[in-house]
């Protein structure tokens, strides 16, 4: 506004100056043109100013209410979950999101295509609670020290820092997407499968603004699968994730609400097994998952000692599903497991994807007061294979096997055992995103164990897929299109132009 006002002053002073000169020289008769002139200039200025004022008002009043995200996945709009959370924060909350980079300009084709606009939306819809800045530490080296005076986080270039008061957390842009881990493993490049920018940032905001109600420890140091996605899921349930490495002095902290053994590829040491047994007998909660893939030589004897104390066992064999309507690959190592009726209502699909699963079995035992419930099972036609002399050998036994089971003891100690990593590992979750039915089950399991009622669950967003049929983009169709659109049509217009011009020129 000040800009236009300034213009106005300049013009007005020029006008009045000219008017003074005029009036001193001219007779009184020529006032009409002057009034027309003032009217025209005045009106123009009023219109210019009022256009901008009107738009500022309109923008202020309606920009939010008259914005409609009609895209299928609402990539660049915060969801109602985030919106409600932001609204629930006190008005004086100040959340700074600082991108440690120059503001990305050309977004198309980069991760920022989904990050920058969405962050703008956070800032836009938070009523000033969220501010988004881009500060390049190369230009302002002091910024990192400013953001994190006591160097509690490892902050470096290219990260986003989310800060509220003294609490600080970071995100790297590439972690805001899930990737196809199979493609990664096979071809070595990142193929994004879904957009979890909102989920990541909202979780980060939750982490710096809300006290986590629970604490989960991941036992690490067992060549286990990565669990970043699982941590994200936990934080959306207000559960803080902490790593707990195995060691000779391994001890389970007092504040441990949930212990997770996610996809270990080597067995746990004896001291850890002992600690776990006493943890469970004192009412502790444990989630165990493993499979039969990178660890096909591992029998997990120590782990089974822990599970046996809960009447469960993970067997040393690999399930193959022989029912063709459930099997997903040749050999049946990936298949659809059926959810038991106890849990079916909690997930959106009656069958869940299972791969390279070990069977989970209830053992005969005289231990009292232990209730064992199956979660996921195969069909009657499944068979088991084992490794004999480093060769995978299929057994002759066919039957129904459990892939996941739950056991609760007398002191309310609970263990969930998954014979597959498809419910806990990044390898699976990152490939299929947070909206997957498997993730729903994981979430419900955690919820049930810790009695979590509140949660901030932001769905991952699938990308818009603009692919056309593969064979068309490589076939001769492209040359036809190129000929038509690059030569025939433009050239046709040029020729028409020449013909028309020539024809009329000589009329």
């Amino acid at each position: 506004m000040s800009k236009t006002n300034k213009n106005k002053q300049v013009v007005e002073s020029a006008v009045s100056k000219r008017a003074n000169e005029d009036s001193s020289k001219k007779s009184a008769t020529d006032t009409r043109f002057k009034s027309l002139k003032y009217y025209a200039i005045g009106l123009s200025l009023i219109v210019i100013v009022s256009v901008f004022v009107l738009n500022a008002i309109f923008d202020g009043l309606f920009s939010k209410s008259l914005t409609f995200d009609l895209s299928g996945t609402a990539q660049n709009t915060i969801s109602s979950v985030t919106q409600n959370y932001l609204d629930s924060l006190p008005a004086e909350t100040e959340i700074r999101i600082v991108g440690l980079m120059d503001k990305p300009e050309s977004l198309a084709g980069t991760p920022y295509e989904y990050i920058v606009p969405l962050l703008d939306d956070y800032a836009f819809k938070s009523n000033g609670k969220v501010t988004v800045e881009y500060i390049n530490p190369k230009t302002y080296p002091t910024i990192i020290a400013q953001l994190d005076p006591d160097s509690s986080s490892q902050i470096s270039d290219g990260m986003y820092v989310i800060k509220c008061g003294d609490r600080i957390t970071t995100l790297i842009p590439s972690s805001c997407f899930t990737y196809d881990q199979n493609v990664m493993a096979q071809y070595g490049y990142y193929l994004p499968t879904s957009n979890v920018v909102e989920s990541s940032f909202t979780n980060a905001i939750v982490a710096v603004t809300t006290d986590m109600s629970n604490k989960a420890y991941f036992i690490t140091g067992l060549q286990e699968d990565p669990h970043t996605s699982f941590s994200n899921i936990l934080s959306s349930l207000f559960i803080e994730s902490v790593d707990l490495p195995v060691s000779d002095s391994f001890a389970i902290p007092e504040d441990c609400d949930l212990l997770i053994l996610s996809g270990p590829n080597v067995d746990i040491p004896t001291n850890v097994a002992d600690a776990l047994i006493s943890f469970l007998s004192n009412g502790g909660k444990l989630i165990v998952s493993t499979d039969f893939y990178y660890n096909s030589a591992e029998h997990f004897n120590n782990l089974n000692r822990v599970l046996n104390s809960m009447n469960l066992n993970i067997d040393y064999s690999l399930i193959s599903e022989n029912d063709p309507s459930y099997s997903l690959v040749d050999g049946g190592f990936e298949f659809l497991g059926t959810v038991t009726s106890d849990y079916a209502s909690l997930v959106s699909s009656p069958t869940l994807r299972v791969s390279y699963a070990r069977p989970v079995r209830q053992i005969d035992s005289t231990l009292p007061n232990i209730v064992v419930t199956p979660l996921i099972y195969s069909t009657q036609n499944a068979s088991l294979s084992t490794v004999v002399d480093e060769q995978l050998t299929s057994g002759s036994v066919t039957g129904q096997f459990n892939i996941a089971m739950k056991a609760v003891n007398g002191s309310a100690g609970t263990v969930y055992v998954f014979g597959t990593n498809n419910f806990t590992s990044d390898v699976y979750i990152s490939t299929y995103g947070f909206n997957d039915a498997n993730v729903e089950l994981t979430r419900e399991v955690v919820r049930g164990m810790l009695n979590v009622n509140s949660s901030i669950i932001v769905d991952s967003k699938t990308f818009a897929d603009y692919s056309i049929n593969d064979n068309l983009s490589t076939g001769s169709g492209v040359s036809v299109l190129a000929t038509v659109f690059l030569i025939v049509i433009p050239f046709g217009f040029v020729v028409t132009a020449a013909v028309v011009y020539k024809k009329r020129k000589n009329l």
């Binding site: 120059d102 897929d465 659109f485």
Partner: protein, 257 residues
């Protein structure tokens, strides 16, 4: 209004300039489309958004002569001395240029049809990009019309509208530049300004400048996020330039030179 529209519109086709504009547009859009098609992914929204950057050339071609030629040839006398309202002259010329852009766009519609036939997707983002395309076209055509009305030289009109459209298209870059210049200048120790406040100030400066930028206001449409107020803004600015064009022409009534 209809008289002016009919003449201007038909002259685009009788003087071949319309066909030249068609040829340029068809080639550019065809190039983007075919290269997208060959890559296996066709996003019409991004094609349309890319096409907008050629406004800088297309708009001057279409609008440069609309009023400047009349002034040069003296044919503007007709508008002033026949029982015609100057406002209807402005609107007639504006609509003729808009109609030309509308017809040009048929090329993209054909491409959309091909995309759908090839199993591609036309989504809300595409529709958003189309809506924005026409609102921005209206804005820039009005601007070009204004440029054409202030001079009697087609070349000057073309350069004038070229520069302004370029400026508008670079606004977000310029605003970032201004903001970072401010930041680096004021962050010198001499000024002793709290860096947090400074960065807030700079981002506000950037936001303020970008508020005027029709492109950054409408950038979310291509992702399927529709919003009324940016469209209202574009329409208002287009209307404003038409109004100013009208005032420039009406100036004859009071000008003394």
């Amino acid at each position: 209004m209809l008289a002016i529209f009919k003449r201007e519109f038909s002259m685009y086709f009788k003087t071949a300039s319309g066909y030249i504009a068609f040829a340029i547009f068809a080639f550019l859009s065809g190039y983007i489309f075919v290269s997208q098609y060959a890559s296996g992914k066709v996003n019409i929204a991004s094609e349309i958004t890319n096409l907008r950057s050629f406004f800088v050339v297309l708009i001057p071609i279409v609008t440069m002569g609309l009023f400047s030629e009349d002034k040069k040839r003296g044919t503007e006398v007709l508008y002033y001395t026949t029982p015609t309202n100057i406002a209807s002259v402005v609107i007639g010329k504006f609509l003729s240029a808009m109609a030309l852009f509308g017809i040009m766009f048929i090329n993209v519609l054909v491409q959309m049809f091909i995309t759908v036939c090839s199993g591609g997707v036309i989504d809300a983002g595409t529709m958003g990009a189309i809506v924005v395309y026409f609102f921005l076209t209206a804005l820039f055509v009005a601007l070009g019309l204004f440029a054409s009305a202030v001079t009697d030289s087609q070349i000057i009109a073309a350069i004038f509208s070229f520069l302004i459209i370029l400026l508008i298209q670079l606004t977000s870059t310029i605003s970032a530049l201004i903001s970072s210049t401010f930041n680096s200048f004021l962050s010198a120790k001499v000024f002793n300004i709290d860096p947090e406040k400074l960065s807030e100030f700079c981002s506000n400066v950037e936001k303020f400048i970008n508020w005027f930028d029709p492109l950054s206001k409408t950038k979310d449409f291509r992702y399927g996020v529709f919003s009324i107020s940016p469209l209202f803004y574009c329409a208002c600015i287009a209307g404003l330039f038409l109004f100013l064009t009208y005032q420039v022409l009406e100036k004859k009534r009071w000008t003394q030179s």
